[in-house]
Symmetry: C2
């Protein structure tokens, strides 16, 4: 009875504080995710200590990550991919490669990490958070511009690239030695799994979801959609990919069926239940004490955070300047790609779980992700209003 008591109290605290701090974040023009991370840091063991890490909480938070990526997949329209065009692809690749390699080398030579650790840490910095940027664009009615289309396309593509990198990197953790051949075979398997599960998945769901149309129970479509997501997530684990890869593919595949809208509508409250648990748990895992500047041994971490932040920031800005197209505000594109979010946090979490990172590395990465998310909306708002003023003058 005592166990269920602490479980209920933990859930209640997570929900309550996520909403309170999420609201504060909104008030200060920040993303709700920041509020949820801060909520986790505050109720976690490094501060108030109301909620501690438990097996059940980590399982439910993993389910939260799965539902999050399922939703991202559902919202990712394959057609829009193509419409975003080649520039989105270029921006995505450059924006992945630069922060990845600089992150890797900094971690390797200054962060004191091993080769595999550094490879994993670099991966954390790759994926732009679609959510945060889309939110800022939406608030400022900027979604229909050329810049917004490139940025959102690129953000979705670098999610996919990120997932492939994660697939490769996760396999490396288990394996050990790295040659160019192994990297190639691993990325090959990952890409093959993605392509095959998309093609076979689309065929299966087209037939299956026509069959269940006849079923009379409520919420059949929703629950069967979740079943498909869970099965693909489990399959990903079997081919040594992260479960979120399968969840994303499941969402992508289900976005092609007729009942897509029903699933998206009904998954919303389930998303509202599980996803904050994921972000708050990420915060709970952060050890705030490693940032105490009065402890001498912590100072190198603060320097590491600073350097990584600069790399994460500049790497994405450079990706904007590869767009060789007229009338495009390249700086605006670059800045829009800066915020890291969900996917980076998931990578960091997987690294922590598999003992690739210790508490210090993990907390440094979370800090960098949070910093990118703090600064972007502020810069972006001023850039967009400047651009709007300019076009009025013209």
């Amino acid at each position: 009875m005592c166990e269920i008591f602490s479980f209920l109290i933990a859930l209640a605290s997570i929900f309550f504080f996520s909403k309170i701090f999420g609201e504060f974040a909104l008030k200060f023009g920040q993303s709700v995710i920041i509020g949820e991370l801060v909520a986790g840091i505050i109720i976690g063991p490094s501060f108030l200590g109301i909620v501690s890490k438990t097996q059940i909480l980590s399982s439910i938070s993993e389910l939260g990550a799965i539902i999050l990526l399922f939703e991202v997949g559902l919202s990712t329209n394959i057609e829009k991919f193509l419409k975003a065009g080649g520039w989105a692809l270029v921006v995505a690749f450059v924006g992945v490669i630069i922060p990845y390699f600089f992150g890797y080398f900094i971690f390797l030579y200054f962060g004191g990490l091993t080769n595999i650790q550094a490879i994993f840490a670099g991966a954390v910095l790759t994926a732009t958070s679609v959510g945060i940027t889309a939110r800022v664009f939406m608030d400022l009615q900027f979604l229909e511009t050329e810049e917004a289309k490139i940025v959102l396309g690129a953000a979705v593509i670098d999610d996919v690239i990120g997932l492939v990198i994660l697939a490769v990197v996760s396999k490396l953790i288990i394996g050990g030695t790295i040659t160019f051949g192994t990297i190639l075979s691993i990325s090959g398997t990952a890409v093959l799994f993605l392509i095959l599960s998309i093609i076979i998945g689309v065929l299966i769901v087209q037939i299956f979801f026509k069959l269940i149309l006849k079923m009379k129970q409520q919420h059949v479509t929703l629950i069967m959609g979740i079943v498909f997501c869970l099965i693909l997530s489990a399959l990903s684990i079997k081919v040594r990919l992260a479960p979120i890869v399968g969840a994303f593919v499941a969402g992508l595949v289900l976005s092609t069926i007729k009942q897509e809208k029903e699933i998206k509508e009904k998954i919303e409250p389930i998303y509202a239940f599980f996803v904050p648990i994921f972000f708050v748990t990420m915060g709970i895992n952060v050890d705030i004490n490693v940032f105490n500047p009065f402890v001498v041994s912590n100072r190198e971490i603060l320097v590491l955070v600073g350097v990584l932040f600069v790399v994460a920031f500049i790497g994405k800005i450079l990706s904007g300047f590869v767009v060789l197209k007229k009338n495009i505000n390249k700086l605006l594109v670059g800045i829009s790609m800066v915020p890291r979010g969900e996917v980076g946090l998931i990578f960091a979490g997987i690294g922590l779980q598999n003992n690739v990172f210790n508490a210090k590395n993990y907390s440094a990465l979370i800090a960098v992700i949070m910093l990118t998310t703090f600064v972007t909306p502020i810069i972006l708002k001023s850039l967009i209003s400047k651009k709007k003023n300019d076009s009025i003058i013209i």
Copy 2:
């Protein structure tokens, strides 16, 4: 990684088979709950063995019971209680007392149970399932009749009586000795907790949910409603009541606020996610082997199931005959009260968890509950169509 793999597969199997067998149940005019229980028996260790009992599954299933009772509370209108009138109250009390005491004595003298075990087992037989009866009435367009109002009123009231009995009984498990004084003090505490949490709760939510109206995040009302439910559930544990008691009260209290409809609408997909997990898990816990009639030692269990079923059946039918009102089909009222469901299953589950029951007693009780649910719709349909024919002739 392996642990999360089996967790995902377990969830997928539970969802998939619950929908498949739920659909079969509907096809054969049965309640979906029966389908979910059968799904659990089939995928559980006593049959296919796809899903086994784990700590995380039992925690999530407990959360399912909490959300189920929260929803029952939300759907229980305090005004309708009063409108159902005195007869509903009488029917409820008689329908609780007769099966309870007969069940108690049969378990004590023929079932080989101890005093406390028998008290608990009697409680399992008390509460009518509002869901199943309401569903049959709805299907046959019988909801607006005098009989239906009495039955639905009584079914809700005996849920509340059942929860009070559970409160008393749960305390007895921990205590031990039973005198009339202890029973009185325990029921006193339980009733006091119910009354106080309703009164204080209503005051708190009126103010709190006005305050959060200003919050801009999505689903704030839903999540804060769940927070309130979780806190009251945890509080119930602190005063040694079952968490579902608090969940029910939370629902009842929240049914008085303006945003009630929003919470009820949005809780639906969450209900669709968690509640089947609860029922399927109930089925997973059933040991089907104890019903094998070729094993001699099992025959007493089959006899016990038979006797208990007769008691459970006749006890509720008698409750219909206390309605001393003209133009009321007393047999119809009685039969309508026969199906046991959610609350009985929850009681049985709590009994199993606290080692009040062994696998045999537990499985016998589940069998009785399932039998009451199997037979009622069949008898009820013929009674209602006979009554409709009669009134046409007149």
